[in-house]
């Protein structure tokens, strides 16, 4: 499977994350999966003239392009000219190249939330008119338009995340190379369901604190970060706590809130990232699929039943009270 990787209005962090894929032989792993990198900005030998020759050969049909991976948002400004990113050596805006190449590709992948929705680069008043390949925040459209379908008939595959998890990218590429990926494998926002059908909450190591609404109050506290610290893990689609990052990590395990980086528009939440917005003391964002009345009832019940140990540990940065040791056999 011939893969071409381009970077535009982003930070390159999804590529850097990709290199952290959990394998003892990254280059061999891709090759064994049938992934042939035609060119990648961080990994390939070819520079300058050789790259331009490759791009031209894809556009004129000489080189088959199975998957076009785009990382970074697409910069349409100023005034629709795309001049905020001119591809070096070409005198042409990157959005021109992406449009030309996308129609040649069997699959088009948006790697990261910038390429999927616009992401961080579309923050503030979006000075560069940044958008995703097929979305602008949660509105279909983007650079290629809502009706775009790649050669395979699929829409742009949105491997959203800021950054993406390396194995979200590799697993998608491997499934595509094996011809084992269909429209049924995409969620309604065209994210691969193998990670987007989970919530960040699933597998969170702070689950006991969540259950008892024993909440962290300041950075480095051990408690649940939903009530005060802005954590959106109970609403956000991703498997970060099932498929950990860099060995044993995740945002919540690192001591900070899930900021919903796989979701469109996460960059402008309308509140401070590290503070939970509340109305009458109740968080505005409640756990997905949970009716508000139930949440309120359960929260007040569980708060009244919080074990002292859990309550004290929640506001400390290391265990101040240990779980009791049962003197009898566990039942």
């Amino acid at each position: 499977m011939n893969v071409l990787w381009l970077q535009s209005g982003g930070c390159g962090g999804c590529s850097m994350s990709l290199l952290c894929a959990d394998t003892t032989d990254f280059q061999g792993h891709l090759r064994a999966a049938g992934v042939n990198l035609l060119w990648h900005p961080s990994l390939s030998l070819a520079s300058g003239e050789d790259v331009l020759a490759l791009l031209r050969s894809v556009i004129d049909g000489t080189t088959v392009l199975d998957a076009l991976c785009v990382e970074g948002s697409l910069l349409r400004g100023p005034n629709g000219t795309g001049r905020f990113h001119m591809l070096a050596g070409t005198g042409l805006p990157m959005i021109h190249w992406v449009r030309e190449l996308a129609v040649k590709a069997r699959h088009v992948l948006a790697v990261g939330s910038c390429a999927a929705w616009g992401g961080i680069t579309a923050g503030g008043d979006n000075p560069t008119d940044a958008c995703g390949l097929q979305y602008e925040d949660d509105r279909p459209g983007g650079l290629l338009g809502a009706d775009f379908r790649s050669g395979s008939g699929l829409p742009v595959i949105n491997i959203a995340g800021c950054p993406t998890h390396p194995s979200w990218v590799i697993d998608t590429l491997m499934a595509l190379a094996a011809d084992a990926f269909t429209s049924d494998d995409l969620d309604p926002l065209a994210r691969p369901r193998f990670y987007a059908d989970q919530l960040v909450h699933h597998g969170c190591t702070r689950n006991e604190y969540y259950e008892f609404k024993a909440s962290a109050e300041k950075p480095s506290d051990l408690g649940c970060m939903m009530e005060h610290m802005g954590c959106k893990g109970t609403q956000v689609h991703a498997d970060c706590n099932i498929r950990p990052w860099n060995g044993e990590g995740s945002c919540t395990r690192g001591g900070y809130a899930c900021i919903a980086c796989t979701e469109p528009g996460f960059q402008e939440p309308g509140h401070l990232f590290h503070q939970t917005p509340k109305i009458a003391g109740i968080p505005v964002g409640l756990p997905t699929d949970m009716p508000k009345a139930w949440f309120v009832a359960l929260a007040s019940l569980s708060k009244s039943a919080t074990p002292k140990r859990v309550k004290h540990n929640a506001v400390a940065d290391h265990l101040v009270e240990k779980p009791a040791i049962r003197r009898t056999r566990l039942k």
Partner: protein, 486 residues
């Protein structure tokens, strides 16, 4: 006869880069460096709550993400008068050093060395070995280094939740306390990386290498086993291709000081090294100003200190050729990076090598490897200095009015954030990144930036459209274009 060459897209640099060359005979006569992409972080940050900067700034750059976080956290700490507890300092330094050393490793194995496998070198005696070690997709050492890098970054899975774009770096310390058992595991990871460096890169103990105090000692050490380890292999190539003199910098090398210690000192001292005078000057950050004469950005009457800096695109500005401003220190062009840190902190090997050859392709790469070998033992010390039962973070109370400055050292050099807050919101946020210095355009006086100077006189072979010497020089700076313009 003069001809022109437009070189790009560059790869194996972070972000997109274009270089316009004017060539006379077989030499570059002058160069213009174009950072081709603008995203507008400084505009995006306007009006945000100050603490929200910690979500945005790491995402300036996927390779120096933590460095941006550390600079922002320091600027916020300066704004709020916050001092982090010693554990927070050690954890922050460990997080930053993990990224910096990973970047040095990535640069050496994935970005820089692969250029020696190019067919243009097929007649050199070391070419087959270069292919074996450094071919980007199949090279043994490239693959081994990628695996070592993956394992190395598991340090940040524990210390920071993930990399890049951790949010664990706070003005008051680190949100991720480390307990005693975790510390044992992290120490094992440091030793694992030490083993990789000693077996593959240095081919000797780290201490034996860092003890080399002069160039003569270095070359004697090289002669013992010219192909053992990838550093010695690089030195073999340096000798053969005479890279000692290729791509000389401006002769002034800036470091803000790396790895602030609880006592206020830096593990690698700060300063401005003047190569010709062999003198270390104090760094006066008030003398920093950014000149936008040749950037597609609005230009004030005079160059502005970052605290009063201005970032407003003017895409049709006549004469401009890049999105990057030209930072100057007291009006002077300076270079920054691992070499500057090693010069400022006084390592005798780098001071000797730069004294003889100037700051060149050779000394830049050598300084990075030296830094890998010097900093890893420091990390072992910082980890041992953590007291697991004490605090890692204090809450950050930030005032509604004020300003803050955050200085740090990214892998690529001196990084500064300048922040002004009014009414509880960011009124101005200015970032001067390492590659903003190194790849700066000309200033109002017409003085070229550090890379633009380094490219002058670079050799161009017959028929070359992407001259290989130009590529060595460009990549020897380990540029990060996404940081440069942000």
């Amino acid at each position: 006869m003069t001809s022109r060459l437009l070189v790009g897209p560059f790869n194996r640099v972070e972000g997109d880069l274009e270089v316009a060359l004017e060539i006379e005979g077989d030499r570059v006569r002058s160069a213009q460096v174009n950072a081709t992409m603008y995203r507008g972080f400084e505009q995006i940050l306007q009006g945000k709550a100050p603490h929200d900067a910690l979500v945005f700034v790491p995402r300036i750059c996927g390779i120096c993400s933590v460095s941006q976080s550390v600079a922002a956290a320091r600027a916020l700490a300066d704004l709020g008068g916050i001092t982090m507890p010693p554990n927070g300092q050690h954890a922050t330094n460990l997080i930053l050093a993990t990224e910096n050393l990973a970047d040095h490793l990535t640069h050496f194995y994935l970005f820089f060395m692969p250029d020696f496998v190019r067919p243009v070198y097929a007649d050199r005696p070391w070419h087959a070995e270069a292919l074996h070690r450094f071919a980007p997709d199949s090279g043994e050492q490239v693959r081994a280094a990628t695996a070592a890098r993956q394992r190395w970054f598991t340090l940040l899975g524990t210390l920071g939740g993930k990399w890049p774009h951790t949010q664990s770096v706070e003005p008051g310390g680190s949100t991720r306390p480390i307990d005693a058992a975790e510390r044992v595991r992290l120490l094992a990871r440091l030793r694992e990386f030490r083993a990789f460096l000693e077996r593959h890169l240095i081919g000797d103990s780290l201490e034996a290498f860092t003890a080399l105090a002069s160039e003569d000692a270095l070359w004697a050490w090289h002669a013992q086993a010219p192909l053992r380890g990838d550093l010695r292999f690089f030195l073999t190539v340096v000798q053969d291709l005479a890279l000692q003199g290729l791509g000389p910098g401006p002769g002034r090398y800036l470091s803000f000081g790396a790895y602030a210690q609880p006592g206020g000192q830096h593990a690698l001292a700060r300063g401005l090294w003047r190569a010709q005078a062999q003198r270390l000057d104090e760094v006066d950050t008030h003398a920093i100003a950014e000149d936008a004469t040749f950037a597609w950005l609005a230009q004030a009457r005079d160059p502005l200190h970052p605290l009063h800096g201005l970032t407003r695109p003017e895409p049709d500005k006549p004469g401009a050729y890049t999105w990057n401003k030209a930072p100057r220190l007291a009006g002077e062009v300076v270079e920054t990076g691992a070499m500057a840190r090693q010069l400022a902190s006084g390592h005798p090997l780098i001071r000797d090598a730069v004294g003889r050859h100037g700051g060149t392709v050779y000394t830049r790469v050598l300084a990075r490897v030296l830094e890998l070998a010097r900093v890893l033992p420091m990390m072992e010390d910082w980890l041992l200095a953590i007291r697991p039962t004490e605090a890692f973070c204090v809450p950050a109370e930030l005032p509604d009015e004020g300003h803050g400055v955050g200085l740090s050292e990214a892998a690529r050099g001196a990084l500064g954030h300048w922040l002004v807050v009014r009414g509880g919101r960011i009124a101005n946020y200015q970032i001067v990144a390492p590659t903003s210095w190194n790849f700066s355009p000309r200033d109002a006086q017409g003085t070229p930036g550090a890379l633009e100077q380094a490219l002058v006189d670079a050799p161009v072979r017959d028929g070359e459209k992407t001259p290989v010497a130009v590529q060595h020089i460009v990549r020897s700076f380990d540029p990060c274009m996404v940081c440069t313009v942000h």
